[in-house]
Structures are given as C-alpha cells and as structure tokens.
Amino acid sequence: MRTFLFIAICASTLLSLGLAAENTSALATIGQSAPNFTLQGSDGKEHSLADYKGKFIVLEWTNPNCPFVHKFYDSGAMQKFQKEETAKGVVWLRINSSAAGHEGSQTVSDLAAYVQSHHVAATASLLDPDGKVGHMYGARTTPHMFVINEQGTLVYAGGIDNRPSPDPADIAAAKNYVTTALDEAMAGKPVSTPTARPYGCSVKYASN
C-alpha cells in the first residue's frame, strides 16, 4: 500500500509541477489565466505580461490609422480613460499587431513619437508585428479590449463600448464595458458583461 501511495504521489506531483511550468500555449479564454507574452515597447525595452503580475491589466489593441481609433484618440477620450484607470493602479498596455507593410505598421520610433504627440497615458505601448499575441488573444478589431484581474484571469474580452460607430459624439452616452469591468473586478464582484461585440477596423495581420 505504501508503495502504491508513493508511486501515486510522485507521479501526480511531478505531473502537476510540470503543468504548472507551462505558460504560453493556450488561447486567451474568459475565466482562465491570461496567457503570458513578451513584446517590445516604445521605450525599446521588452515588456512581459508577467512583469505586471498581481495588478489589474487592460490590453488595448490599436492601429494609428483606423477611424475608430481616431474616434477615441482625436477626442482625447481614450487618453482620459487611460489616465483615470492608471491612477487607480491599473496597468494599461496598448498593442499594435499591424504586420510590416500593412496599414498602421509602426517602428519603435514611430510608436514613441505617436505616444508623445497624442499624449498617450498608457503604462506601455507595445509592438506585435508578427501578430502572435494578437492571435493568442483573438484580437480582431481596433480597438479590441481585454481586462485581466489581479489573479491573472481574463475577465473581459470585447468591444470598448456599446455604440459601434466612428462618431466621437457617441462616446459620452455609450456604456464603457472596460471601465465597468474594472470597477466590478476591483470591487471583487463578478463582471456582469464579460463579452461584447468588438467593433472597429480589422487588425492588419499578414495576408492569408
């Protein structure tokens, strides 16, 4: 019996340890651990999702040329959201998955200049030119938003608000799913709307 137990314990310990070491394979799914990634930022340095462990994190997929991104940035609305949430300790990461040669593709210096000129108030702006992280999270539009709670679980994936239009006048009256999800998650409550239709231009991945 002792041997029985010994073998069983050894096997299961090893297996669970092994599985715990896993980090990058899964596709991001609501209710599960948000997969880790490492991307280069506008400061030229590498940023990993794991660097921000223990914080609330917002991922914002963006494309500088998309009219729907203009809707939020030209009006200053997105910068306002970024400022408000980062002030609460939320980590806000912007990600550009435009492939080289496609609309919105940026180099590190382009991105740094954009961050400067648009007064971006995010924690970091990252480049994902081979689209790996975009595919991992299933980012389809710009903007496409994701919220991760302090335990590292993905709690929201979807559009930024409920008014899919390119008109900035719609922002004020719209229900912002991201700020709502953050408020609920920070209060320890379950997120009432974990997913909503993402709207915007398509993410410019490399052609099929």
């Binding site: 029985f4 899964a26 596709l27 595919h135 390119p166 239709r197």
Partner: protein
C-alpha cells in the same frame, strides 16, 4: 392618322422602356452623392404611390473595385450600413432587406459584405389617405456606412426622393412603374424564405484540432413534412448576430455535399470569447440550388436550447469519412456521440472496431513494458503456486486479476474524464508542446529507469507489495489487487507509447472512452488470464532466475532511450543551451535516488532512514525546481532544419499562408509538411518518403516549392490550418496545385514515396 400617331406613341414608350438601363439613371432617383470610394443614391420603386400601399426604395451603393461595405453582421470587423429615415407624417419604414452577403478575407480575418454594387431594399408604408387628391411627398434617408479595402473610411450621404401620393383606388399610370426591372433584379439577390426545414440549435462541444475540444453551435435541419430529400452541397452559414460564430468555419463540418438528406447537422465553431444568444438567425448559402434557383435561404430566428438534438456524427463528415461514419452511428449507442476527427481514412473497416482492436493490441504490448513485465512475470510465478493447489481455483484467480486490471483502467478513465470535464485540455500530442509536461515525463522515466537498474527500490519494491497484499487477504482479493497494482505500475508507461490511442479516447464521448480503456485493460490482462485457462502453456513461460534481474535492468535501458528522446524534444522546445543544465538536474535527481536507495532501506536505523529520505527529497526538489525554471526559458526562433529530419540540405522554407499564395501565383505547385520535433511518425515519414531520391527528383522536375510548418511550439496559425483539414495534430501533408488553389490534395499520415510521386504526377 390618329392610329399611326398612337402607334408611334406606344412604340416610343415601349422603346423607351426597352432601352431603360438597369444600372444607370433611374426614374425618380435622388441625386447621387459621392463619398470616398462610394457613390450613393436612393431609388424608389415608383414615383406615384398609393395611400396605404407599401412600396420599396433602394439605397444603391456603388463601391470602387476592391472596396467593400458591410452586411448586417459585418463579421470579424467592420460596420453595417445604416439608414435613418425622415418620412412624412404617418409613413413607416421597415428594416433593410439585405441581399445575400459575400465573404471577404482581410488577412486571416473574415468579413461579410458587398463589393461592386449593392442594392439595399427597404419597404415603406404610406398611411391610408384622407381622400384628398395627389400630394407631393418627400422621403429622406440619412445613410451611413463603412467602406474598407486595407484601410477603412466611414461615409455618409443625405438622399431625398420626391414622390406623388395618390388616394386609394386611384388608377396608376403605367409609366410610374419606372424601376421595375431594377427592383426585380434586386429582389432576386435576397435570400429566399425557408420553406424546407425545421431548424433548431444547441450550444455544445465538438472535437477540435490541436487538442482542445471546441465550443460550437449545433444546428439541426429537418425536412418539413412533405419536403423531398435534397443534396445540400457545400454550405456556409452567415449569422445575423455578431460576436457569436467563428467566421473561419470551413468545409470540415459540412454534410456530404452529394448525398440526398432529409436531415443533417451543422456544427459551427463559436467565436473565441464570443456570446451565446438565445436565438440565432441568418443566411444559409450553398454552392448549388436549394430552393428553386436560389442558393441562399434565410433562416428565421430559431432557439438555441434544443436539448433533444443528437449531436451525432451520422450525417456530418468529410466525404472521405462518409463510409466510416455511417457505421459509426450504429456503434455508438448512447451518450453524446461526436464526429471522428482526422486521421488516416479507414475505408471499409468500422473505425470503432479498428480502434478497439488497436487498444487490445496496445494492452498486450503493455505487458512487455518495463513498468509491467517484471511485475507480470512474478504474477505468473505466483499463479503456478495456485495452479499447483487447484486448477479450477487458478482460473478464478485469472478472472480476479483481469477484473482488477479492468477496474483500475476504469478508474484511470474516470480520472481522465473528470479532468476533461473540469475543463482541462488533455490531448497527448498537444501536451508535448509544453516544456513543463515534457520535463515531468523526463523525470518520471529517469527515476523509473534508475529503479530498474536497482539504484533504489520503491519501498520493498512491487514484489514485496504483492506478498504483503496476499498475506492479508484471500486469494480472490489478492489477485484482484495484483491486477490493480499492475495497472498502476503501467500508468507512466502508457503516456508516450499509447499516446495516440489515449489522445483519441480523450476526445471521445464517455461511453467510447470507457470502451477503449476496457479493451486496453483486457489486452493487458489476457496473457495472464490465458495462462490460467491453459496452465499447460506455463511450459513456455520462463522460469524465475537471475535472468529476471538482467531483464529488469535491460528494461531500464529502454526507458533511458525514452529519456534521451524527451531530452531532445525539450531542447527543441526551450533551446539547446538549456539541455546541459537539464542533464545536471537529472544528475541531482540521480544522486537523490542513490542516497535514498542506499541509506533509506529498512536495513538502517530509523533516524538514518529518515535523514536519508529528507536529503534525497531535498536533491529531488532542487532538481525539479531548477528543471521547472529551465522549462520556462524563451524558445529560440524556430528555423527550418532545426527540427531534424535532415532537411537542411534540401531547400525547405518556412511555411506561411502568404508563402503558399506567392508560390501559387508564380504557377508553382506547393508541398507543405506539417511536422514537430516530438512527432516520431513525422520523422519517419520525412526519412522514408520526403528524402527519397526519386521524390526529390520529382519535386525538382515539377518546380515545386517545399514549405515546412513546424508545430514543435504551439502556433495558432498552424493549429487553425490543421483544424481546417480535420486533423488533431501532425503530421499533415498538403500538395497545392496552381490550377486549384483552394483545394489541395491531402496525403495520408503514413507516407510512402509512391504516394508522393503519385500525387505529383496527378498535378
């Protein structure tokens, strides 16, 4: 004279109508508004309308070539065209009646919309008149849209049409039906109402490629009473609701296009992190006529809570698997049977019997595994003891042993199913992409090999346990326990050697998984059982002796060979630089095992044993800890030729969909090899078939482009492509011909040079 004049008038009228272009200036249309890449106009069906009688108007958008506007559900991205009406009092406007949409690729994303010209119909209903004569009224539309090529540009237009409103009963001048042809054509582009099927839906899972099962919407189509069977062709369902279905749903889930069916199922993969509305509606499009001449049928909203849909594979396959699956439906009795995924087409054999046969043989082979054989031979010797006493009793011992094995396997199966139900993604091939999992296997096998070498014993080894067990319980129970122990000892061995069978079981419904495990168990218990029935065969069973020790140690070397393979896979996953360090961790683990083996035995005093155990545990723990850290190293850039198969000397390039397109555009055929470092059958196929001289010569002659897709690390693009071809994993071999870009030849999983040559000849 008057007659001639009238004739002249009539012929002018007829001529005027005959030369009326369908495209081009339309009677009563609004001014054309030009926006970037789009021109818009509003066209009424007729300019003289009657009170109380609905009439249609068309919003006509003309897009520049390669620019698209969107359908009610734009797909992965985009925005549907919208119309806000400003109408005279009492007038009401209905929703846009959308023509059948088209699919457009935007990179790997898919959108639904229109190119060229689109005519969006709306029905407007004037109020019943108050008896006054003809009035002038104006209909205004504020149209907004998004038009995209690579970039997207929002657009809008304010359009007005002037109409004459006549009282009810007023005679309508024939001339007022100015745009009949346009409207007839526009209505022809609408999907037709569904008069064929009762449609129901349910959210459930279906097997996916790359390990995890996928969430899907199962749609059941059943012929309405009196409707004939129909060959439905290749189908695609456009849902009107956004953020629900994965637009990339491909032909892998459609019923046999040529078979006439009165009922069929469509499982449609759900969008990643999408919604699950209570009702779905949309347009079902086929490549052939469904109702009348129309290939598009509008499916009105149907509920998605139909619990009585049998999510069965009976009518749901790739044409190749049609034979296989129709027999499958007989074999699968209860539970939630699911479609068979991928694999070598089993032409005439019922697949389930083949799999169970394989499981049985696998079980037999298990007896040879280092984990089991030492135990088993000793069981046989204890059997001889029982046989000596009473032949009948021996037979009962055999049954007890078999029962022990079978039930233990059921418990294993239960564990697997519980884990699966808990949402874990258990797919063996898939796990080989995880460095952590490979690391765990490495440690388990290394330690097990050391045990077989005799570096340490597990307690008093399995032999001792057997004796302990039998000393306390009666014969029947002791044999049962022996069976259970043998199973447990076999567990670490089952993973790599029975990978495919178990991976398959993991994806099957509970009933089938249990069957597979049962046959595995029976295979393993059978030799022992046979020996109890034919004790005479004991003559052929080797007698105990020193050879047993040597045999056990030999098995240790087999395990070490597995460790070497796994270390190689680990290196491919996290980088060769990590491998020497991994070997050091194994050394540490080995030292720990040795300490335990030497000073942890009962021949030493209690304190010594405890210390030894703790020290050994310390070594093992630090080795594991270090190993886990190594497993988290960032994998290196995957380069072709880094996964061996020795293809570095023949020009294989890295696969990407863009590379395929490029090569086909140049008129060259493309051969794609989907492989992975840990896939043994891939390596064998590469060596046997792809590096064959005749095959290489044929590739050169055909000027083929050779692409390799390396799935050693998880790659969503590769996983998606495998799924599209109905495969759970690698290998997959595709041959694209420039003449038929969208339908590559799929070569079998077990590849011979002949198959490749044949496929190349047929280009």
């Amino acid at each position: 004279m008057i007659r001639t004049f009238l004739l002249f008038l009539i012929s002018c009228n007829l001529l005027a109508r005959a030369s009326e272009p369908i495209a081009g200036p339309h009677g009563g249309a609004s001014a054309t508004v030009s926006q970037p890449h789009v021109t818009a106009e509003l066209i009424p069906e007729r300019t003289l309308i009657t009170a109380g009688q609905p009439f249609d108007v068309i919003l006509h958008l003309h897009m520049d070539p390669d620019w698209h506007t969107y359908w009610i559900n734009p797909g992965d991205a985009g925005l549907a065209t919208q119309i806000e009406w400003t109408l005279p009092p009492g007038f009401t406007a209905g929703p846009i009646q959308w023509p059948t949409p088209e699919k457009h690729n935007m990179g790997p994303l898919i959108t639904y919309g229109y190119g060229g010209d689109v005519y969006l119909l709306t029905t407007i209903t004037p109020p019943a008149a108050d008896g006054s004569s003809v009035n002038k009224v104006q209909i205004k539309a504020h149209a907004t849209w998004l038009v995209c090529q690579e970039e997207c540009i929002p657009g809008k237009a304010d359009l007005e049409v002037d109409l004459s409103l006549a009282a009810k009963g007023a005679l309508l001048d024939f001339k007022s039906f100015v745009n009949e042809d346009l409207f007839r054509e526009a209505r022809g582009h609408l999907p037709v109402p569904n008069t064929l099927w009762e449609v129901k839906g349910r959210y459930d899972i279906k097997p996916g490629v790359g390990g995890p099962r996928q969430q899907a919407l199962w749609m059941q189509f059943k012929n309405k009473p009196g409707m004939n069977e129909l060959a439905v062709g290749q189908l695609y369902f456009f849902p009107e609701q956004s953020n629900v279905l994965n637009a990339n749903e491909d032909d892998n889930s459609h019923p046999d296009p040529k078979q006439k069916l009165s009922e069929f199922l469509l499982p449609l993969t759900l969008q990643q992190n999408g919604e699950k509305p209570a009702q779905i509606s949309g347009v079902l499009v086929s490549d052939q006529s469904l109702i009348g001449n129309s290939r598009a049928v509008y499916i009105a909203p149907f509920p998605t809570d139909a619990s009585d849909i049998p999510v069965s594979s009976a009518s749901l396959t790739n044409p190749i698997q049609q034979n296989v699956v129709s027999e499958n439906s007989a074999a699968i009795a209860t539970g939630h049977p699911e479609p068979v995924e991928g694999s070598v087409p089993l032409a005439a054999q019922p697949w389930l019997i083949a799999v169970l046969g394989a499981a049985f043989v696998g079980g037999l082979i298990l007896n040879l595994m280092p984990c089991v054989l030492p135990v088993l031979s000793l069981k046989v010797f204890s059997l001889m003891k029982h046989a000596g006493k009473n032949p009948r009793s021996a037979w009962i011992q055999g049954v007890a042993f078999t029962a022990g094995v079978v039930i233990s396997f059921w418990m294993l199966a239960g564990l697997l199913l519980a884990l699966r139900a808990a949402g874990n993604q258990l797919g063996w091939g898939f796990q080989m992409q995880s460095p952590g999992f490979v690391l765990a296997l490495i440690f388990i096998f290394f330690l097990l090999a050391l045990n077989l070498f005799g570096v340490f014993e597990l307690g008093t080894s399995l032999v001792g346990v057997d004796a302990k067990a039998t000393s306390h319980v009666s014969g029947f129970a002791s044999s049962f326990l022996n069976g259970a122990l043998a199973t447990l000892a076999a567990t670490p061995c089952t993973a790599p050697f029975m990978g495919s069978s178990l991976g398959f079981a993991a994806q099957q419904p509970p009933f089938v998984a249990l069957l597979i495990f049962t046959f595995l168990a029976l295979g393993m218990a059978t030799p022992y059982f046979l020996l109890t029935i034919f004790p005479g065969a004991l003559r052929f069973v080797p007698k105990p002796g020193a050879w047993m020790e040597a045999f056990k140690q030999f098995m240790g070397f087999l395990l070490m060979a597995t460790v070497i393979f796994l270390v190689y896979v680990f290196g491919a996953l996290v980088g060769q630089d990590e491998v020497p360090w991994l070997l050091v961790t194994l050394l540490l683990a080995g030292v720990g095992a040795w300490i335990y083996g030497r000073w942890g035995t009962p021949t030493h005093s209690g304190p010594v044993r405890v210390t030894a155990f703790m020290v050994a545990l310390g070594f093992l723990a630090s080795a594991l800890n270090w190993g886990v850290a190594l497993a988290q190293a960032t994998p290196p850039e995957a380069t072709v030729g880094s996964s061996p198969g020795g293809q570095g000397n023949f020009s294989w390039q890295t696969w990407s969909p863009a590379a395929v397109d490029e090569a086909l555009a140049q008129g060259r055929p493309v051969f794609v090899d989907f492989t992975a470092a840990w896939c043994l059958s891939c390596k064998v196929n590469e060596r046997v078939a792809l590096e064959n001289d005749a095959v290489k010569k044929a590739f050169t002659e055909k000027n083929a482009v050779l692409l390799q897709a390396d799935w050693t690390h998880s790659d969503p693009q590769i996983s998606e492509t495998l799924r599209r071809f109905n495969r759970d994993g690698v290998p997959l071999y595709l041959l694209y011909s420039p003449k038929n870009k969208n339908a590559p030849q799929v070569l079998p999983e077990v590849l011979t040079p002949g198959m490749v040559l044949e496929a190349l000849q047929s280009l």
